[in-house]
Symmetry: C2
Subunit: 282 residues, 2 copies
C-alpha cells in the first residue's frame, strides 16, 4: 500500500488511450461513494497540458462537475484542441465513465510575458502553521491519515458587525512529502487541493444551516494560477462565502505562500442542500 503522496503522484500518471485521449485507472480507495472532484480536475488539467507546447503554461481553468464519479471505474479524458495561438492556447476536456460525462473543463495556457506585479495581500493576524493546533480540523483524524497533505485549520473568522464573515474557512496546507520540482506537478496538486473543503468554505456558518444535515457537492470550479507556488511548502488556503441562496453557495479562495505571495485564486459554487439523511444529492 503506497503512502498518500505516492498515490497522489500515481493518480496523475494517466495512460494514453488514443489521439488526445487519456485514461485514469481510478482505483477504489475503499472509502467514499463518489470520486473526489479535485482528483478529476487535476487529472483533466494534466491531460490538457499533455497536448500543449511546453512554453505555454496553464494560467486558468473553468470546470463543471456534471455527475458524481464512481470509485473503481476508469475515467477517460478526451481533449479538444480549441485553439493553438501564438501567445495563448485553449483546451477543453470531457471526462467520462462509460457513456456518462462526469466532468468538463476548459483551460487556457499562456506564454510568459513579464509585467508589473500587484496582488491582494494575505489576511492579517493569521497564526503561522507551527502555532496552530494539529487537532482542530473539520476532517476526522482517520480521514486525515489518508490525505496527502498536512492541515492546520484556523476555523472561520468572526463575523463583523453586519454579520459578514471575512473568511469562512482558513487552513494551512502542504503535502506530507517533498514533490518533484516540475511546475506541472505543483499546478496539478494545487488543483487537487483547491477542492478540499471548498464546499465548507462556501457555506456561511449560520445556525439555520446545521452541518450534520448538509448535503454538499461541488457544482463548478475555477482556478487562476497567478504565480509559481510549491504545494509541498506551507500555503494558506483562505476561503470566504460570497452568497448563500437557492441552496447554492459561492466561495472565493486564495492561496498565499508563507511569505505572502499570492499563488492561486479559486472560485467555486457548491450545492448546499439541507436534506433528510439518505436522500440523493442531485
Amino acid at each position: 500500500m503506497p503512502d498518500p503522496v505516492s498515490r497522489l503522484l500515481q493518480m496523475l500518471e494517466l495512460g494514453p488511450a488514443g489521439v488526445d485521449r487519456y485514461r485514469a485507472d481510478n482505483p477504489d480507495p475503499g472509502y467514499g461513494s463518489r470520486v473526489f472532484g479535485g482528483q478529476v480536475a487535476a487529472q483533466a488539467l494534466w491531460a490538457a497540458t499533455s497536448t500543449v507546447d511546453a512554453d505555454h503554461v496553464a494560467h486558468s481553468m473553468h470546470a463543471y462537475f456534471v455527475r458524481p464519479g464512481q470509485p473503481g471505474d476508469p475515467i477517460v479524458f478526451d481533449v479538444e484542441r480549441t485553439r493553438d495561438g501564438r501567445s495563448f492556447t485553449t483546451r477543453r476536456v470531457l471526462a467520462a465513465q462509460g457513456e456518462e460525462v462526469i466532468f468538463e473543463m476548459s483551460a487556457s495556457f499562456h506564454r510568459d510575458e513579464p509585467s508589473v506585479d500587484y496582488q491582494l495581500p494575505p489576511a492579517r493576524g493569521v497564526a503561522l502553521p507551527d502555532d496552530v493546533s494539529r487537532q482542530l480540523s473539520l476532517i476526522p483524524a482517520a480521514a486525515r491519515d489518508r490525505l496527502p497533505v498536512e492541515l492546520r485549520e484556523l476555523g472561520p473568522s468572526e463575523p463583523d458587525e453586519s454579520g459578514w464573515f471575512p473568511s469562512t474557512r482558513r487552513v494551512w496546507m502542504k503535502t506530507k512529502a517533498r514533490l518533484p520540482d516540475a511546475p506541472l506537478v505543483h499546478v496539478c496538486v494545487l488543483t487537487f487541493l483547491s477542492d478540499m473543503g471548498a464546499v465548507l468554505g462556501a457555506r456561511a456558518p449560520l445556525p439555520q444551516q446545521p452541518l450534520e444535515r448538509l448535503m454538499g457537492a461541488s457544482l463548478d470550479h475555477a482556478i487562476w494560477f497567478h504565480r509559481p507556488m510549491r504545494a509541498d511548502e506551507w500555503f494558506l488556503y483562505d476561503l470566504h462565502a460570497v452568497s448563500n441562496s437557492g441552496s447554492r453557495g459561492l466561495t472565493r479562495g486564495t492561496m498565499h505562500s508563507i511569505d505572502g505571495a499570492l499563488g492561486v485564486s479559486v472560485a467555486q459554487e457548491a450545492l448546499l442542500r439541507i436534506v433528510d439523511p439518505g436522500r440523493h444529492p442531485r
Copy 2:
C-alpha cells in the same frame, strides 16, 4: 437607426440555424475593430437557455474569449446538451465565425430550491447614483451615447496602507429604457453589462501601468446569478483587482441593487499588456 436599448434587445433575437444551432446577424455598428465580448456572452447564454426547460434557470456560466470576433460577420452558436438532470442542466456553447471558434461557454441551470439567505454586503460609503456626477467616466461621451446604459462612475477607491485597492472600478448602471419583465432578458442584459469595463477593473491603477499604452482584452469570464435582479434599475457594479502579473489581471466583481441585494458575482481575467501603439494584441 434604432435606439441603443432596442438594438440591445434585437441583438438577443437569434435566428434558428439547425438543430441546437442559432445564428446572430451581428451587424457592424460602425465603430470598434472587435465584437464586444459581452454581446457574444449574452447571445451564447440566450442560445443555451433556448434548449433548456423553463423551470431550470441559469445560475452560472464560465467562458473563454478564444479569438476576437469580426463586426459584420454572422456568428453561429452551437449548443451541446451536456446533461439534462432532475435538478441541474448543463450546456456548452461554441460560437464561431466561419470555421473559427471565437468564444466558448459552459452554463448550468438549476430548478429553484429555497434556502437560507446570506450575502456579502455592498461597499460602505458609496454615493448614490443621483449624487454622482454624470461627467466622470472612463468611457468617452460619444461612446456613452451609443451605450444602452446610463453610467455613474465613482472611480477606484483609495489604496489602503499596504497599497491594496479595495475597489478598482465602481460604477452605477441601468439601461436607458425599461426592459421587458422576462427574467431571461435581465439575465442576458446583465451578462452583456458584466463585460463593460471589466478589463479596466482588472488593472491595478499603478503608475507603472499607464492606461494609454495598455492593450487590454478579456480572456475569460464567469458569472454567478445569485438572486433575480433587474438591469433597468440602478445597480452598483463593484470590481476589484485580485492580482496583476505575467501581463494578466484577475478581477472579481459584484452587482448589488440599490437596496443592497447581491444579484450577481463576476470573475474575469484580462490581458493587460503594455505595448507600443499598433502592435497586435494576441
